[in-house]
């Protein structure tokens, strides 16, 4: 029996969390910090419009940055309409269709607001809409949580190249891309600043971008 190894300075969870892939330094900005704020504001307004005042809406972000976006959207809705929209997170790891292709990864948090999702209008929130596979996984995960009245999708960036019949109800910015490019969404809470960058595809693809 050996003595305990010294605890790792980096918690296992942080170690295994998905970083922004590639090198943002090599990418060019598509949205500035101010642009991001403006886009989120617009999305909040659209959301209030399309949901007739945001009643019975539950925002569920897909970790990590989708969760942050959901929280921001909820804050802006509150600022504009004085309405408290519950927001939470929905981990899709265990529902992904590419689980078999990689090492099992650490789970993200699933945090469903106290009222649950039954009968609610659930708005799934993600940073980038690409193949649509993450959204497909999120729909499956949601179905196991309960039965929403309806489900909508909000994304900060739609970069195209869908592989499934999925479209977003709220799009912050359409950014036409080639498959040789990568979209980096940076948010202050997760990355220290707000920006959307477009860069060359990396050797290690961001796994969320292409399940």
């Amino acid at each position: 029996m050996t003595a305990a190894p010294p605890p790792s300075p980096v918690p296992a969870r942080a170690r295994l969390a998905r970083p922004v892939s590639g090198d943002p330094a090599a990418a060019r900005p598509v949205l500035s910090s101010a642009d991001v704020a403006r886009v989120i504001d617009r999305m909040a307004h659209e959301l209030l419009e399309k949901t007739r005042g945001g009643d019975e809406v539950v925002l569920l972000g897909i970790p990590t940055r989708g969760t942050t976006l959901a929280r921001r959207l909820a804050a802006r809705v509150h600022a504009f309409a004085g309405l408290t929209v519950p927001s939470g997170s929905l981990d899709i790891t265990l529902y992904r269709d590419d689980l078999r292709l990689k090492s099992p990864r650490a789970l993200e948090s699933t945090d469903v607001p106290a009222g649950g999702v039954d009968g609610a209008l659930v708005v799934l929130v993600d940073d980038v809409l690409f193949s649509g596979r993450s959204v497909r996984a999120a729909l499956d995960a949601l179905a196991d949580l309960g039965r929403p009245r309806a489900v909508q999708l909000a994304v900060l960036v739609d970069r195209g190249h869908r592989e499934l019949p999925i479209r977003a109800d709220y799009v912050g910015k359409n950014i036409p891309t080639s498959l040789q490019e990568t979209v980096h969404v940076l948010l202050a809470e997760d990355d220290g600043r707000d920006a959307v960058l477009l860069g060359p595809a990396d050797a290690v693809r961001e796994d969320r971008a292409r399940p």
């Binding site: 029996m1 050996t2 003595a3 305990a4 190894p5 605890p7 790792s8 918690p11 296992a12 969870r13 170690r15 295994l16 981990d91 265990l94 529902y95 689980l99 078999r100 292709l101 990689k102 090492s103 099992p104 990864r105 650490a106 789970l107 993200e108 948090s109 699933t110 499956d140 196991d144 949580l145 309960g146």
Partner: protein
């Protein structure tokens, strides 16, 4: 690469924390209406129980089913494994059936290690002889962390038949990896020769240790240890009464514990022997939670071993 969970020593600090964190997320599934995840769809998990243990077997079964794995259970009683079929034959049969993981409980120490050499899938030790029971240690650590918020520096006292306890071995290894301070309390006859090399303190005096404990884990003491029974080795202690007096956890002793301290027992209990009924059912007791937590922890272990193209935790073949 497929890996195995044969010993708590197979888990690094990061591995162990990953299991506990994963279990924390998976615990939510047990609270939902639909207690099922598609994660292990198409995977086959074989529960191979050469020794009776309804609790552990059903816990693993439920864990695998909640992850949508196909589950086959062989219990030694009434199947070919009890009729002289060798472990090796059984292993080859399991291979032929294409099992992805084998959860094995066996009365011989090391049987899971043998199995791991003979099959391609992952092997999870669900208790082998007097060796180890790593998922029990994981669920114990999980329970401690949930109740007390931390493991680092936690003072854990394990009381009872350390010599024959696979739970004690796995707990000592895992808890020391996780930074807890473990003290073993037992009559000297129930401590193994060589225990001095373990990463744990040893005491013969329960009353002295209790006030300095955050967690007290009581181990079952089997009555057959009292002997003398024919060919068996001599008795380890004179009588149940004396054992209970010196090492049993009764109401008077519990009163000397710190306010926050908890009482654990891996079960099955011998009420009135190592633990008084009032203590087992008291507010400090985590005995019922331990059972529920077992499912989450085992889901986490199965997911991390089988959920991907290779394993995220464990020891290589």
């Amino acid at each position: 690469m497929k890996r195995h969970l044969l010993s708590a020593a197979d888990l690094s600090y990061d591995d162990a924390i990953l299991v506990l964190d994963t279990a924390e997320e998976l615990a939510q599934v047990s609270e939902r209406t639909i207690k099922k995840l598609p994660t292990l769809r198409g995977r086959t998990v074989v529960n191979l129980f050469f020794e009776d243990s309804t609790r552990t077997r059903t816990s693993f079964e439920l864990a695998a089913k909640r992850l949508s794995a196909d589950v086959i259970t062989f219990s030694a009683k009434g199947s070919s494994v009890s009729k002289g079929e060798t472990l090796k034959d059984t292993a080859l049969t399991l291979e032929a059936m294409g099992s992805d993981a084998v959860v094995v409980r066996h009365s011989w120490s090391g049987a899971p290690a043998n199995l791991a050499r003979w099959i391609r899938g992952s092997v999870v030790n669900a208790g082998d002889g007097t060796h180890e029971h790593p998922t029990q240690a994981l669920l114990d650590a999980y329970t401690m962390r949930r109740r007390l918020g931390r493991l680092e520096g936690l003072r854990v006292t394990i009381v009872g038949d350390i010599l024959h306890s696979r739970v004690a071995r796995s707990n000592v290894l895992l808890l020391s990896t996780l930074g807890a301070d473990v003290t073993l309390v037992a009559p000297p006859t129930l401590l193994p020769v060589g225990v001095g090399s373990w990463p744990a303190q040893v005491s013969y005096d329960l009353d002295a240790v209790l006030p300095k404990s955050d967690v007290v884990m009581m181990l079952r003491v089997q009555r057959e240890r009292m002997g003398p029974t024919g060919e068996q080795a001599a008795a380890y202690f004179p009588s149940a009464r004396e054992y209970s007096r010196r090492y049993g956890l009764d109401v008077r002793r519990v009163a000397t514990l710190a306010d926050e301290a908890i009482v654990m027992h891996p079960g099955p209990m011998v009420r009135g022997m190592e633990i008084a009924p009032e203590v087992a059912d008291g507010v400090r007791s985590t005995i019922v939670e331990q059972v529920a937590n077992g499912v989450s922890v085992r889901m986490a272990v199965l997911y991390l071993l089988l959920g991907g193209s290779d394993s995220a935790i464990g020891s290589p073949s």
